[in-house]
Symmetry: C2
Subunit: 141 residues, 2 copies
DNA sequence: AACATTTTGCAACATAGTTGCAATAGTGTA
DNA sequence: TACACTATTGCAACTATGTTGCAAAATGTT
């Protein structure tokens, strides 16, 4: 894991720092999307709030993580797949929010469908967020 | 307009107050979605910030307005159509955010498409937000 | 090891949203 | 219309969230 994280940072031409390693670790540890507060909990007292904000912004810029819009307007982040790079995200998958466990997942294999726009409107990006019960919660209740 | 607003409040069994009338007026005046700050600008010094928050929450509860999730996590509100009622919203239309004029619109006639979920996931609500250039901006540039 | 460049922590600030409570306004009834 | 009851509002204080400037510390390069 340590090596995987270092490689990812090098590939993105970012210097290897303790905070970046720890924050990336939190994403690899969890398989769901994380809010700023989740990461703050994970890293504990080790790093300043401001450092986390700036690191997340850096990761978004470099194509390492992407943000997820949610109906309740919390900011969530999740790892990108390899196809994303600095300045160019290609995360056109559906996001799923579980109403039971409250976790958010990238449905990597569910592509956002296109939709027919009214005359005059030109679409450049489409976000789709589905709420419901996730597979884990469905299996255990 | 005054009468239309009063009827809407009565139909929702809400008492008729100056702040509710003024805030509803702002929605009928604009044809796009509004953020809390927009409404604060519209009503000026007449009402407290807290009153606006509480009034918007009441309107959402009563099925008069609905919230719109946005990629940049701003909270937006827009008028519902008649089919919404207290506790039951049916705003299953696509929302459009213009990258140029920065306004957000309800595309009332564009229904959110269904999408096939992976095994184990049960969808109960789907939000779709499209970004691009709106018809007004396309016509004037 | 020494240097130049990034990154971090701190403090201070800005904005957004919430809560409790007393004062006020609205509604229904006499 | 006046009264009493209830709902709404304003204020103050508070929490949460996010940003900025700058000096100190860490990183990468020679
Ligand atoms: Zn991405
Ligand atoms: Zn995703
Ligand atoms: Zn509605
Ligand atoms: Zn809408």
């Amino acid at each position: 894991m340590e090596q995987k994280i270092i490689d990812l940072l090098k590939r993105s031409s970012l210097s290897i720092t303790d905070s970046r390693k720890k924050i990336l670790e939190s994403f690899f540890q969890e398989n769901s999307a994380l809010a700023h507060a989740d990461i703050e909990d994970y890293v504990g007292e080790d790093f300043d709030r401001v450092t986390i904000y700036r690191t997340l912004q850096t990761f978004v810029d470099k194509g390492i993580i992407h943000t997820i819009p949610t109906p309740d307007n919390a900011v969530l982040y999740a790892l990108c797949k390899d196809s994303c790079s600095a300045g160019h995200h290609h995360d056109n998958h559906v996001h799923f929010i579980c109403d039971n466990c409250n976790k958010t997942f990238c449905l990597e294999h569910v592509v956002v469908p296109t939709v027919h726009m009214p005359v005059g409107f030109a679409a450049s990006q489409i976000d789709m967020v589905v709420s419901g019960i996730c597979n884990y919660c469905n299996a255990t209740t």
